[in-house]
Every structure is written in C-alpha cells, then in structure tokens.
C-alpha cells in the first residue's frame, strides 16, 4: 500500500483538493440547491427527450419514420405524451393493496433520480466564494452510495408486482427481483476492480486517477464488460427485460398501472439508464476528462472549462444511451434459464476471478515499480501492461462464453449428418408404424 501513496495521480489529486478552498457556508448551500435544481431539470427534460430518441432510433432501425407530427420532427411529442398521461384516468384495481400500489411508483422513481447526485459531471468551477464541485453531493463514499441506492430500485418493481394482485404482475415482480439480485453482485464485483486501481471510492478520485493514467476501459476491459452487461440487467433493458416481457407477461409489473403512475415507471427506467450510462462513463471512460489533453485536468477552473468538460461528459453519456437503445432494438430477450445461468454460472465466478487477477496484477506491477504516470507516447506503462493482460483475458472469456457453452443462439445451420440423425430420432419415436414390410 506504500506505492498507492506515491501515485502519479496524487499530484493532480492534491492540486484539486489542497490548493483551492472549497466553497462553504451560505454560498455552499445556495450552490447546492442550484445544482440540485439544474440536475433535476436536466434529467427530467432529458428523460422526456430520450423517450422520443428511443422511438426515433427504433423507427430508423426498422425502416420507419417515427413520430413526426407534433412539432418539428416530432420534438413536441414528449410534451404531448406527458400531457396525455396527466389527463388520463387513473385506474385502481379492486383487489390491489392500495397503499403499496400507490407507493410502488414512487419507490421506483425516487432512487432512479437520486443516484445521479454523486456523479461528477464537469470540472469544478472557481468562484469568488471558493471552489464549487460539479456533483450535487461530492460524497467521499460516492460509489458505495450508488450501489446502496441503485439496489433500492428493485423494491418499487417488486412492490408494484405484488400489490397489483395480478398473476402477470407478480411474475414480473418476481423475475425482476431474481434478476436484479443476481446481477447486482457481479456489478459490484466488477466495480471493485476500478476501486483497486484508483485506491478510492470517491467518484471524483476515480475520475482524477483516469485523468492521470488513462481511461480504465483498456486496463479493465473485462471489468467493463461485466459491468456493462450487469447494467443492462439492472436497468431492465433488453436483452434483460424479463420483468416486463410483453409477449409473456402483458406488461409485467406495470400491467395494472395507468396514467401518471405508469409514466413514473417509464421515467424511472430512463433515469436508471441515464445513471447507469453516467456510471459507466465515470468508472471506465474518464468521466468529464477530455482525451488527449491535460488542459482540462489542471487549474484555473474557468467557466469555459466547466462548459466544455460538461459537454464532453454528456456527449459520452449520450453515446452510451445510444448503445442501450441500439442493443434494445437488435437483441431478442434471454430465456429465464439463460439469464440465470449467465448471471450465476458465468458473471459471478468471472467477476470474482477478475478481482483476484486484477488485485494480483496491480500489486505485482506496483512492486515491480512499473510507472503509473504517462511516459512513452502519452501512455502509462502500468496502464498498457494491465491492458494487454485484459486483452488476453477477453479472448479467453469470449471463447468460454460462446458457442453453446454459456449462451447460444437458438438456431444454427444443420449439417447433412445432423439432419439424418434428427430424422432417425423422430422416426424411432413416431406413433405410426413405418410403412412397408
């Protein structure tokens, strides 16, 4: 652990925290309220626009046009949908447990929104009252906060499924709880690798470490893969949308919901997606870091720097959201057994092994004295060494994962020999005796 104290990231880290005085007192309170309002507004408006983006992207993928009647290019469609959802009749099933039925959308909606609070979304801003951190709450245990709050989201879904008193809803809720519990473990485990590398659970520190050494995506490629798959499962997006599975469960846990309550679940899903994307950007893609320059990592913290880094962060975030949507409109849903075997038989052991391997590698490289700071061609040797290790691991992982070992496509071309074999089996089982002598 001695080596951790002498990390290169420490230089930037100390510039960040020691030389500039953070804002305190009344200005701190006002700035925090302002940040809360801005982040809340941006997320709510963003979520509304994301519903439009989802419909547009799905339309283009399916060679359609998508909503284009309300406003220019359908831009007012979210407003029309929102208005419709507010005006619609709320239906309450007679057999529902009314208190929990009303509580469930809130429990789903609130954790989805407040997870974003700890994510640093831009470089800090230097004001005459002091340095303003650009996250709503710069918690020193930011990552643990996210894990804690994100796992609360499942309560909303499970309670919605249970309180509706409807068998489809209940099945959706059950599936959701099983899925979220399964994948939450591997998600947390995958992120431990990031913590091993940064030596800190503060998200701001994780960003600083990546600014100093290079983004985590390369040295923690497998970790990113596990985290990404788990994030898809956590947000109930395809190919893991078993809780709502339209074809099997009508709409799953929100079958009985209508109007604004249904909309709450929708907003929660999209906010979860935003938070998961933000988390992936922060943990693996350098947060608000601009690649290829150190200009954004050092003081002075001007307004221009704040705006540019913020734009870069949201650009990365939107590209992840695009991947979420792209995957949704491409991949079919997993079967329940595939979901469980992927979660428990593959992701969890892989994540555990990965912690051991990464921990060993980080310790070994530090003991060998491999430098974490940028040396040749803007590449840190430490970063490159871990990256190569991960590439080797990735090759192994995809060989194990693929070709019917863990997951398989439902169909592949049959060879003539296999067709003959299958015919022989079905001939033997047929109820009608073969014709002839």
């Amino acid at each position: 652990m001695i080596h951790l104290a002498t990390l290169a990231q420490g230089q930037i880290y100390s510039q960040f925290y020691d030389k500039l005085v953070p804002v305190t007192g009344v200005p701190w309170l006002l700035f925090t309220i302002l940040k809360m309002l801005v982040v809340f507004t941006v997320i709510m408006v963003g979520v509304a626009m994301l519903t439009l983006a989802e419909r547009k992207i799905s339309a283009w993928i399916q060679d359609r046009i998508g909503p284009n009647r309300t406003g220019y290019g359908g831009l007012l469609q979210p407003a029309a949908d929102g208005l419709k959802n507010i005006m619609k009749e709320e239906t309450y099933p007679d057999a529902a447990n009314m208190k929990l039925f009303i509580l469930a959308p809130m429990l789903s909606f609130i954790p989805a929104l407040i997870t974003f609070a700890v994510i640093p979304f831009a470089s800090p801003l230097s004001t005459k009252w002091g340095l303003v951190e650009m996250s709503v709450a710069n918690l020193p245990i930011g990552f643990l906060y996210i894990l804690a709050i994100a796992s609360l989201g499942v309560y909303g879904v499970v309670l919605a499924g249970w309180s509706s008193n409807n068998k489809y809803s209940l099945l959706g809720g059950l599936r959701s709880s099983a899925q979220m519990v399964s994948y939450e473990i591997s998600m947390g485990m995958a992120a431990v690798a990031v913590l091993l590398l940064s030596g800190n659970v503060s998200l701001q520190a994780i960003v600083s470490q990546q600014q100093a050494m290079g983004w985590n995506i390369f040295p923690l490629l497998i970790g990113f893969f596990i985290f990404c798959v788990a994030a898809f499962a956590e947000t109930n997006r395809l190919p893991f949308d078993l809780p709502e599975a339209e074809s099997e469960l009508i709409a799953g846990y929100h079958t009985e919901y209508s109007a604004m309550k249904f909309s709450m679940f929708f907003i929660a899903e999209y906010s979860n997606m935003v938070t998961a994307s933000a988390l992936m950007v922060t943990l693996f893609f350098g947060g608000w870091d601009i690649p290829g320059t150190q200009w954004d990592n050092i003081p002075p913290w001007t307004v221009l720097k704040f705006l540019i880094t913020g734009a870069v962060f949201f650009g990365k975030l939107l590209s992840f959201i695009f991947v979420f949507m792209w995957v949704r409109w491409t991949l079919p849903r997993f079967r329940y057994d595939q979901l469980m075997s992927l979660g428990w038989k593959f992701m969890l052991p892989l994540a555990l092994c990965y912690i051991v391997i990464t921990g060993g590698a980080v310790l070994g490289l530090d003991m060998l004295g491999v430098s974490r700071s940028v040396q040749w061609f803007g590449i840190a040797p430490f970063w490159a060494a871990l990256g190569v290790l991960n590439l080797v691991l990735a090759a192994l992982v995809f060989v194990v994962l693929d070709r019917g070992r863990i997951i398989s496509p439902a169909y592949s071309r049959l060879s003539a020999r296999q067709v003959a074999h299958l015919r022989a089996i079905s001939a033997g089982r047929s109820l009608v005796a073969p014709q002839g002598d």
Binding site: I61, W326, F398, S408, A410, R413
Partner: protein, 165 residues
C-alpha cells in the same frame, strides 16, 4: 415426478452467439444510418388506387340530374350483405324510379355485384375509401348522398379486355 421436457438436439456448438450478436448489431446500425424510406405520409401523400378499386358507392345521374336508377330491384336481390334498401315508385308516364334508395356502408362488403348487375349502369362502387362519420346512422347513404358524390367509379373487369388496356 419431474415435468417431461422435450429437449431438441440443436448443434449449438457450431453457432457463435457473439458473432450472431455482432452481425445483428451491424445490420441494425446499417439500417439506422441508411433506412429504406418506404413510408408514405398518409394524409398528404395518398396511394394511387387501382382502377378496379371497389369503395364508397356512387349513383350516376342522367343529363337532367336525376338518378339513372329504374328501381328494377336487381341490386337488392343480388346483394350478399343485404345492405341495399329499395322502394320502387312509378310516375304518371309509367317510368319507374326509386322512392327510397339507401345503402348501408357498414353492412356492405364491397363485392361490386350491384354494379355488375345494374342494367342501367346507375349504381357503382367508387375509387374512394375515406368514409368516416360521427354516428352509425351517418353510414346509411341515401339517394341524395349517393348522387351528389363525385369520386371516380370502379372500372369493372371486362372479359374482352382482361388487362384493362
């Protein structure tokens, strides 16, 4: 006792999920970037109807503006949906004309038999399909409504000119 599950022997070892997934993603991305634009913007752009399209009925009129119908009763006779109501009348000169001629467009199956059977080429099915009303009663078209419509009528199939040339 365990549930009997039929297990199909699929050669899954030869198919790669990762490769299938990536090729699927590539395909959707290709469509996303370069969609096949097939959609027609309906109310503004309308599909060209076939000359033999059988839609909303039209009653043709003679030069004086009277309906050509002679109330022979063939169309209600042949109508398989029984949607034509005809009450015949006769004037002083002995010319028959319809006192009541109503077609229920809700019941009609648009087979076009009424047009085929009409000896006076009076009743026609038309090349028109946008008929919406605020009430069910509005779909019962009376003689006045049938004669006042102006859309083109269906060209029936002619055995001598099968391709309509």
């Amino acid at each position: 006792m365990p549930i009997q599950v039929k297990v199909l022997e699929r050669p899954v070892g030869e198919a790669s999920y990762v490769r299938a997934m990536l090729s699927g993603m590539a395909l959707t991305f290709k469509h996303l970037m370069n969609p096949h634009k097939k959609t027609e913007q309906y109310p503004e752009v309308k599909w060209a109807l076939s000359p033999r399209w059988r839609g909303t009925h039209r009653m043709l009129t003679d030069e004086t503006g009277k309906a050509k119908c002679v109330a022979c009763g063939l169309c209600p006779q042949i109508c398989p949906a029984n949607c034509i109501k005809l009450v015949p009348g006769e004037d002083e000169e002995g010319n028959r004309y319809p006192l009541v001629y109503e077609i229920d467009e809700f019941r009609c199956i648009f087979c076009g038999y009424c047009q085929e059977v009409c000896p006076e080429e009076a009743i026609h099915v038309g090349r028109h399909y946008e008929n919406s009303e605020y009430s069910r009663e509005g779909f019962v078209y009376d003689l006045e409504r049938l004669t006042s419509q102006t859309h083109p009528v269906c060209e029936m199939w002619d055995p001598d000119d099968p391709k309509g040339e």
